[in-house]
Each structure stands twice: as structure tokens, then as C-alpha cells.
């Protein structure tokens, strides 16, 4: 397909990145949203962000492999100081129930505390990576490919909430820059984005997932087609922008009611308003590319 249609995802993703904050990518077991996180990494790097990538569901090698297919060389960005990789820590597998009932809560508390220290180690590693970013970086982005997998460490609820709050707060954006940054500007706030993948079909995660949805500027949901499987369409991605600046008048060239909605938003104030923009894209994934479609017509299917 032609260039502008291929950039539809990039245009919509840019809407969320312009306003910064949290972008939550929700998938399910039927359809994983990991590929969207990979696309977001590409968009962030192309926008000259310094990306701190925390891998829990996949390893960096697989990210590099898929980025190569998208025409992005991750090692190159690593060398230039725009991409930093942090591996998710291993969990502490404690003992079992023990032989005494009094030992069980203590063992559980000990395991939880060790897990929380692992989260603290992760935060420290992320902070250190952010401070090493290139001075020319336009902003800082924290990308976690799967919070659901990271929650498999089973940390305590308080520690997990604190970790999520740290990720959403934008503290990384206020961290000191790399070499060459003048001392008075070290703590200057730079644009900050947090992109996180999660799966919405785990009942135990619904409380914190709902909290993140409430806090997110953009919620991207990927799922199968509501009417059933189609031969040439693998699924549907829905972008729900909850907060942030409306897109400019020239904005993404979307079809139908989305374009009408974009025009209405462009007429609004340029200041951040709690406006909502909902747009769906259909996609078909092949070995070498993901084809995005704003509408499924015979033209896209042929």
C-alpha cells in the first residue's frame, strides 16, 4: 500500500506521544498486544526519544529481529545512546507452607519483601539507564512490554502499586541527563512517555489495570473482530485518547467519522482538555509487515 496509509498507526500513536504520559496497550490471550509495543518503540526512536526498554515477555534479540523487519536497527540506537535495555529481574521462589502455621505468613512476607527489593532494583536500573541518555534526545520514554508477565513475580500489592506510580509519575523525565548537559539544566523536566503492555483477561490484575486505564492518556486495545474471523483481517486495534491535546487540523488522514471527529477537535482550544478521540484500525500481519487499514473495503482486501 502507499506510504500515508502505512503511517496511520504512527499518526495515531503520535497523538498519544505528543501529550506524553501513559499509553496502555491492552491485549488478550486470543490476540497479544506485544506487536503494538514493538511498533511504539519504533515510533519513539524515530521521534528521537531516549527509550528505556524493560523486557519481561520477550528478550532483546527478538525485539531486534522484529525491528529489523520494520527497518529499524536497534543496535545503532543503543550505540547512539537512544536505547537502553533493562532485563526484568528474576523472582524469588520461596519455600512452601512449612510445618508450622506461624511460619507460613512469615515466609510469605519474606518472599514478598524480596520481590519488592527486586522491583526496587528494577527501578534503580531504569533510573541509571535514563541518566545515560544522549543529550540530543527529545525526551525520555519508558517501555515495558508486559506488566502482566512482570506481575508474575507476585510482589506485594503495596510495592506493585508504588512501582506503577513511579513509572507513571514522570520522575524519569526529571532525572539528570547524560554527559554534556549543563549543571543548572540537569533537573529540567523533559517530555516523558510511558508505554506499557498488559493483558486484560487476568482477574487478579483488574484492580491495578483499571487504575492504569483511568490514569492513561491513551488506551490501545487490540482484539479479534467482533463479528468473527475474516480471511484477510487478523484483528482490530482501537485507540481511545482520554486526555491530552487534540490533534492539529492537518492531523492524521483518517476516514469517515474519525475525520469528522478530528476536525471537531481541531476547532477546540489547543490547551490540554479532557477530550476523547476513538479510532479503530484493522490490521493484517504477514511475515514481513503489518498492514493497517482504516476501513475494510474491497480495495484493501485486493
Amino acid at each position: 500500500m502507499s506510504g500515508p496509509l502505512e503511517d496511520e498507526f504512527g499518526l495515531l500513536a503520535g497523538c498519544s506521544l505528543n501529550s506524553g504520559g501513559l499509553t496502555l496497550v491492552k491485549g488478550s490471550l486470543q490476540l497479544s498486544g506485544l506487536f503494538l509495543v514493538q511498533h511504539y518503540v519504533k515510533v519513539l526512536l524515530q521521534r528521537n526519544y531516549a527509550v528505556v526498554l524493560v523486557t519481561a515477555e520477550q528478550v532483546l534479540d527478538r525485539f531486534q529481529y522484529t525491528a529489523k523487519k520494520m527497518g529499524v536497527s536497534l543496535p545503532q540506537y543503543q550505540q547512539s545512546g537512544h536505547l537502553f535495555h533493562v532485563e526484568a529481574p528474576l523472582a524469588v521462589v520461596g519455600g512452601g507452607t512449612g510445618h508450622d502455621a506461624d511460619q507460613a505468613p512469615a515466609a510469605a512476607a519474606a518472599a514478598a519483601s524480596r520481590s519488592s527489593s527486586r522491583l526496587q532494583q528494577l527501578i534503580a536500573a531504569v533510573q541509571q539507564a535514563a541518566t545515560q541518555r544522549a543529550p540530543s534526545a527529545a525526551g525520555v520514554a519508558l517501555v515495558i512490554d508486559s506488566l502482566t508477565v512482570l506481575a508474575g513475580m507476585c510482589p506485594g500489592r503495596a510495592e506493585w502499586t508504588a512501582f506503577l506510580h513511579y513509572c507513571c509519575s514522570g520522575v524519569l523525565g526529571a532525572s539528570a541527563g547524560g554527559e554534556g548537559v549543563a549543571a543548572p539544566a540537569q533537573h529540567e523536566q523533559v517530555p516523558y512517555c510511558f508505554v506499557a503492555g498488559a493483558y486484560g483477561d487476568v482477574p487478579d490484575d483488574r484492580p491495578w489495570l483499571a487504575s492504569l486505564e483511568h490514569r492513561a492518556n491513551m488506551v490501545v486495545t487490540v482484539g479479534p473482530l467482533p463479528g468473527g474471523k475474516m480471511a484477510d483481517v487478523d484483528g482490530q486495534v482501537t485507540f481511545m485518547q482520554r486526555f491530552g491535546r487534540p490533534p492539529s487540523g492537518a492531523g492524521p488522514r483518517l476516514s469517515g467519522q474519525a475525520a469528522h471527529g478530528a476536525a471537531a477537535l481541531a476547532a477546540a482550544s489547543a490547551a490540554a482538555l479532557p477530550l476523547q478521540l476513538r479510532q479503530s484500525l484493522y490490521f493484517r500481519s504477514t511475515e514481513l509487515a503489518v498492514k493497517w487499514m482504516a476501513a475494510v473495503t474491497s480495495r484493501e482486501l485486493l
Binding site: Q30, L31, S32, Y65, L90, V149
Partner: protein, 446 residues
């Protein structure tokens, strides 16, 4: 995987550095057969195998693993297969890996699996094999039997101690209070041993063609191929992992009683430990040249844990029971061999740009005495009708032979009733057949 049908369902096999989660069927126990195939294939390919179980079988792996079925083939097949080789058309590019030298080693070094359609950077390469065994496999491919990915096994014959001599198969029992911690430690050591060695930074920085690069390549060639392994964790989360190591029945009952007394909190701790174990196994497996097979009794776990576990695996298979009196069992062709249902919940999408979707096709597991077979569920629309007709004929013959007169009239009435029942068969309704005579319009239930 050791089972060609399963390899086909997974799209070519289980990739290295991936985890396969099997949700157990509590009634048929077919997950054990899948495990047997998986481990037997690892032993046959001389790979390192580690088996973690709460209760290893009494006879050990020698009695548990199946024997290779291909050893029963006569040697006269080799000549015929070799003659066929020039005419064989092989889909996979095995030919370039064949060593034409007749003095090639006879030991098989076949890898864990072929790559999936979305091949990852760590996928195993296809292996070489002897000329005769490859020709045999090629003949099987040409014949449409499809034994191109793995060996064949006979479930009725155990592998025996002789075949396990020299095999790198290790069995570890994990049960009791520290079961998960012990399993984590054993699995961690095993997976760490299979992690590829990091490239020398100096060699990596050296220009290609330089002396340092040549020396590094020579050193890598001397080291030989990196080892490949298989890790099997059996029934993690089952009650066997909770209770003690079986020192005595009284100890087991005491442990079980104390668990019941602690109730919900104990179960949550066990499930948290299980999740952490699976999380660690996957994190390590992503960096190791190893394929992991993990079976869990999903029915015993809480909904939260049961729904999180599939996200900690790359591929997920679900086994469901198939009872003899179920509608589906009656409609299947050859229902006597159908023992369970298999559904693919998730497929490995490593290295793919987009998500990999499952077809949602249900497969039936057939136990054909010597081997398992996996086939797509196909409903025979006439099965029920045939059974009804056969029953009616049998009744008629019995009535005719046993009594006369009134008994014969009663038999005729019974045959008429059976025919009417056949006209209202569920298969006919299921396949959108004609409505039952006099039965009104019954809504089709999809």
C-alpha cells in the same frame, strides 16, 4: 515434539527458547503421553533432558519412556529407499545438510525442532542424519506418512535401560515444602548450562577477515555446536508438589491435614510460588537453547492463576476430557479410539511482526494402541443414524429369533420407533438436515 501430529499443529514443532504449557485433562491423563513423546525425542536426539516431577514413576524413565518404533523396520527397506532418493522431492531443505561421505557418523544429532513459520534468531538448525535413515524418512514423506520431523515411538514398549545408557537424562523429585524452590534451583542450573556463551567482545569488535576474527571463528568451531536441552516439569501445582516426599503415609496425611487447616492462605502461597517458578523458568529459557514443556492441572488452580499462566508461556495447549456418553463422542468417526480433546490456545509468535492467531480448531486425541494420533474433530453426520439402524436391526433379529407372534409385532413396533428416533437424530439437526417428521420446527442450537 516427538509426535508428528503435534509438530504439525504447532506449525513445525516447538522452537528453542520457548515454553509450552499443557493444561491437563484430569481424567484421561494424555498429558503424560505427550511428555513421553517429548522426552523420548530428546533422548533419541542425544539432547540433555531434565524431568522434574513430584512423583516419578516406579520403574524410572526406562519404564516410562516409549521405545523407538523405527527400529522394527527391516534393513531391506534401506536399499529401496536409497534407490528412491534421487526421485524424492523434499519440502524442507534437508539436502544441503546431508554429508555425501559414506564414512559419516551413524549417531543422530537431530535438533529439538524445526523452526516455525515465524522463525526466531535462536531457532535450531536442521541436523544431519545418516543416509539410510534419512532416505527412510524421505520415503515416509513421499508416501505421505509425514514422519519428517521426528522419530516414531511405540507406546506399548518401554525404552529399556539399554537405550538410556549414555543418555543425558536426569530425573529430579520435587515435593514437599521446598518443592518450588528446589525446582527453581534445578531448572536454573540446567537452563544456565544451556545458555550460549557470550561472544568475545574483542572478537566481535574485530574487523571481519582480520586475524582476531579468524581465531575467534576457529575457537568456536573447536567448541562444536552448542548443546540443546529439554526441560519437563510435570503437573506443577498439583497436590503432589504440596505434600511431603512420601516417607510415610502418616507424614503425608499430617501434611495434608495441616494444609487443609491453613486453607486459603496456604493455597495462595503455593500458587504464588508456582507463578514465580514458571516466571523464572521462562526468563531463563528465553536465553537458553532449550525447549520447556510444563504441565499444570488448571482445574485445581484459582481463576487468577489459571488465567495468568498462559501469559507466562509461548504456546499453550488445552486438554479436555471426552466422555463416552457425550454427544460429540457419538458423532465422531471411530469413537472407540477417541480419548480426549486438544485445543490450541496460544502459539509461539517469536520473531513475528504481528500476533499469531489460532484457528480455534478442535482436535481429537486418539489412542491407537501403539501411538497417539491427533486429528481435527470431524463430525460424521450419519453416525447416529447408522448406530440407530444397527440397533434396530439387532433388535429385530433378536425378536425374530427369540419369540413369535406378539413378540414379533412388538419388535416391529420397536424398529419403527427406532427409525423415528433416527429421523430426529442430533446429527441431522446439527448438520442442518431436514426437520424431524412431526416434530415441529426445532431451533437449531449452534
Amino acid at each position: 515434539m516427538g509426535l508428528v501430529d503435534l509438530d504439525r499443529i504447532l506449525g513445525g514443532g516447538l522452537p528453542l527458547s520457548s515454553v509450552l504449557l499443557v493444561l491437563e485433562d484430569p481424567y484421561s491423563g494424555q498429558h503424560l503421553n505427550l511428555m513421553r513423546y517429548f522426552m523420548a525425542e530428546g533422548v533419541a536426539c542425544r539432547q540433555k533432558v531434565l524431568w522434574l516431577s513430584a512423583a516419578p514413576p516406579a520403574g524410572g524413565p526406562a519404564a516410562f519412556l516409549p521405545a523407538d518404533a523405527s527400529t522394527s523396520q527391516s534393513s531391506t527397506d534401506d536399499a529401496a529407499a536409497e534407490k528412491e532418493q534421487p526421485e524424492l522431492r523434499i519440502a524442507w531443505q534437508y539436502r544441503k545438510y546431508i554429508n555425501d561421505e559414506p564414512s559419516q557418523q551413524s549417531q543422530r544429532t537431530q535438533s529439538a525442532s524445526a523452526s516455525t513459520s515465524g522463525r526466531s534468531g535462536t531457532s535450531a538448525s536442521t541436523a544431519t542424519s545418516t543416509k539410510s535413515s534419512f532416505a527412510r524418512a524421505g520415503a515416509a514423506v513421499a508416501a505421505g506418512v509425514g514422519r519428517e520431523w521426528c522419530h516414531s515411538y511405540d507406546l506399548t514398549r518401554p525404552i529399556g535401560e539399554e537405550a538410556l545408557r549414555g543418555a543425558a537424562l536426569e530425573v529430579a523429585q520435587c515435593s514437599g515444602p521446598g518443592a518450588y524452590a528446589a525446582a527453581d534451583e534445578r531448572a536454573g542450573a540446567f537452563l544456565t548450562s544451556l545458555t550460549p556463551s557470550a561472544p568475545d567482545p574483542a572478537a566481535a569488535a574485530a574487523a571481519p577477515g582480520s586475524a582476531a576474527a579468524v581465531l575467534a571463528a576457529a575457537a568456536a568451531a573447536r567448541r562444536g555446536p552448542e548443546p540443546v536441552g529439554r526441560l519437563v516439569i510435570e503437573s506443577a501445582g498439583s497436590l503432589g508438589w504440596w505434600v511431603g516426599d512420601g516417607n510415610g503415609c502418616s507424614n503425608n496425611s499430617l501434611s495434608l491435614g495441616s494444609l487443609q487447616a491453613r486453607g486459603e492462605s496456604a493455597r495462595q502461597q503455593q500458587e504464588a510460588a508456582l507463578l514465580r517458578l514458571v516466571y523464572n523458568v521462562r526468563q531463563r529459557a528465553l536465553r537458553a537453547r532449550c525447549a520447556v514443556m510444563l504441565t499444570v492441572p488448571a482445574g485445581l488452580l484459582s481463576p487468577g492463576t489459571a488465567s495468568r499462566l498462559p501469559h507466562l508461556a509461548d504456546s499453550v495447549l488445552g486438554l479436555d476430557p471426552l466422555s463416552d456418553d457425550s454427544q460429540l463422542h457419538r458423532l465422531l468417526p471411530d469413537p472407540a479410539s477417541a480419548v480426549a480433546l486438544l485445543s490450541v490456545r496460544k502459539l509461539c509468535s517469536a520473531g513475528m511482526l504481528g500476533p499469531r492467531t489460532c484457528d480455534g480448531v478442535l482436535h481429537v486425541v486418539r489412542h491407537k494402541r501403539r501411538r497417539l494420533g491427533l486429528s481435527v474433530v470431524e463430525v460424521d453426520p450419519d453416525a447416529e443414524e447408522r448406530v440407530a439402524e444397527a440397533t434396530a436391526r439387532a433388535q429385530e433379529a433378536y425378536m425374530r429369533g427369540s419369540a413369535r407372534g406378539a413378540a414379533g409385532a412388538a419388535g416391529a413396533a420397536g424398529a419403527a420407533a427406532a427409525k423415528t428416533t433416527a429421523g430426529k437424530s442430533a446429527a441431522a439437526l446439527l448438520c442442518g438436515g431436514p426437520p424431524a417428521p412431526g416434530g415441529g420446527s426445532k431451533a437449531l442450537d449452534f
